[in-house]
Symmetry: C2
Amino acid sequence: MTSRPFQRLVTLLCAIPPVLAVMPAAAASLGGPLTLEDEGSFFVNGQSFRSEYPGASVATGPAAPGNITVNQMYVHYRIPAGKKGIPLVLVHGSNHTGMTYETTPDGREGWATWFVRQGHPVYVVDHSGRGRSGFNPTPVNAVRDGGADPKNLPTFFLGPIDRAWWNFRFGPEYPKPFPGLQFPLEALDQYLAQLVPNSETTLAGGGANTVSALAALLDRIGPAVVMVHSQSGVYGLDVVRKRPNLVRALVSVEGGCETVTPADIATPFVKVPFISVWGDNSIGAKGANGDKRREGCAQAIGLIKGGGGRANLLLLPDVSIRGNSHMMMMDRNNLLVAEVIRRWIGENVR
Amino acid sequence: MTSRPFQRLVTLLCAIPPVLAVMPAAAASLGGPLTLEDEGSFFVNGQSFRSEYPGASVATGPAAPGNITVNQMYVHYRIPAGKKGIPLVLVHGSNHTGMTYETTPDGREGWATWFVRQGHPVYVVDHSGRGRSGFNPTPVNAVRDGGADPKNLPTFFLGPIDRAWWNFRFGPEYPKPFPGLQFPLEALDQYLAQLVPNSETTLAGGGANTVSALAALLDRIGPAVVMVHSQSGVYGLDVVRKRPNLVRALVSVEGGCETVTPADIATPFVKVPFISVWGDNSIGAKGANGDKRREGCAQAIGLIKGGGGRANLLLLPDVSIRGNSHMMMMDRNNLLVAEVIRRWIGENVR
C-alpha cells in the first residue's frame, strides 16, 4: 500500500480535472465522438459436441441427435483510429454479460467506449455459456425428452433484487441505499434488465471454459491488459497462469484472489502487474463482496510483493473516492474510477 | 412482381458498381472508417417477476424467492455522425442473436455497421429471452429444486449442424453445398459458434414478448424501418399491426408471412411498404425456409397489393443475384444484397 507507484497514483489522482467527477446529462451517451478503425465481433474456443437431445423447435418439432457447438466465447471489439495504447480485455462477473461495460443504466458512457476514446483497442466478452455465447441445452433437454434424472439439471442462478441489492452493495438491505451511494438507483429497472442466469453451468467445466477462451483470445490478439470483475477475478488469475507472457497486467475489480498461493509467485505473478480495486462499504458487508474477498486480495498482494512482483490494493475511499458500489463501472463517478485505472496501467505496463 | 417500383429497383441494380460484389480481404472487417455520434445499449420491455426458484449460485448457494426481471429486450444502437437516413431496427431469427448482423463468420463487414456507414441509425436487438436478453430460469429450477414435473420443462432448441445445413440452405444435405453457394463455408466453425438455444421458451408468451418489446422500442426511438429474418418474420407483421404509424417499412428476409389475412389489409398493411426477400435454392427446399413459406409470402403480397398497398416479393435469382443462402446477411455478396434493400427503402420510405 505504500509502494512508490501507488503513491504516484495517489498524487496523480489529485490532478484529475474535477469535470470528470460531474458528468452533465447529454443527449448522446458518449462523452465525445467515436471514430473507429474497426469494430465487430467473433468467437473463440468453440468445440463440437454430440448432442443426443438438441430439443424441439416450437415451429418444426424435435431435432435428431447431432453436433452442436459449445464452450465458445463471444468477443466484441472496438479498435480506435489513430495512435493506439495497449489493448484491454474486459470480462464481466456473475449474472452479467459484456453489457456490464457498455452504456450505464442511466444512459451515460460506459468503460468500453471510454477506454476506446482514450486510444485503447477494447475487447468485451460474454463468458462462455452466457449471453451471446450460447449455452449447452442438452442437460435440460435430456431430462425433458430423455427421462434423465431431474437431479442432474444444471442450476440456472439469477439473483433476485433483494439479494442483488446487498450483494452488489447498493445498501445494507433492500431497498435502503448506503449514504452517498454513487450507483444510479433511479435507473434500477434498466440495471436489473441486464442480469441473466448463469447458464455456463450447462457446460462441462463451467467457468473453466471462459479461462480457456480468454487464453485463446490472447493467442489471437496478442499482449493485452485483462480486466476482470467479481466472479471472473479467479478466472483472471488462471489466465495469468496460462499466459504469463501475454497478460501485460491484471486489473481485478472486486474479484476474488483466494487462489493465489506461494507456488504461483515464483513464476507468473512476479512478471504481471496486478491491481485489486475496491469500492466503498465493503468493510463488514455481507455476501461475497465483503471482508473475506477483500482480505484475501490483501493477502495475495502481500504474497506477490513478497516475491518481488508489483501489486496494489486500491480501496477507493482511501484516495477519497467515496460511495462506489460493486458495480463501479456503472456508478455516477464511473469515469473517474476508469481514469484511476488508466493511470495505473500507464505506470505499470511497459 | 411487375410494379413500377420493382422495375426501377431492377434497373438500379444494374448500376451497382461491381466492386460491391467482390470484396477484397482486408485487415479490418469494416469497409471504411466508422465515425459515430453515439453508440451504446439499453433495454426495453422488462417486467418484474416473482421467482420462487431463482436457482443456486455455485459460489454462494441457493437464493431465496424474490423478484427478477424478465421479458426485456437488449438493444444495441449505433448512430452515425452527420446527415442521417431513416433508422433501421434489425431483428434476427431462430437460434441466433443480434450477432446475425455483425461481422460475418469469415471476418467481413456485416449489415449493422454497413447501414450505419450509409447514414442510417441502426438498432440491433436480441429477442426477449435470448442472448443478452436474459431468460427466465424459474421453470427449470422449479423442476430441479421444487419437484415440479419434468414434462413442464421448456424446450431449449438448438439445431445441430446436419439440420442447420439444409434448413439454412447451405446445401441439399450435410455436408454437400449447393453449386455456387455464397455462404463462406470455410468459416463454418465461426458461424456455428454464434448459434444459441431458443431460451425464450422459458417466458410466458414466448416470442410474443419480442413483439411487445419491438413496439416499445419504436415508442422510444420513433419511426423506423423494421427488418426481420426467418422466425421473426411473423413478429414483424405483428409489429406492423401494433404500430402501423411507426413502422415506415417492413423488410422481411425469408420471414414467414402466413398470418397476413384480408382483415389486415383494410388498415395497417396498406400504409406500410413491405418487401419479402428470398435467396437462391428455396424452390423445392426442405424445411421451414422453402416453398411453403415463400408461397405464403407471395399470397400475402397479393393480398396487400389487392388492397392498394405497396409490396414486393424479391427472389434474388430473378435479378441475377445467385447462390444466396438463408443467411444472406453473411454471404460473400452480403453487401450487394444490402444495397438492393437500401435502394428499395430509398424508393419506398418517405
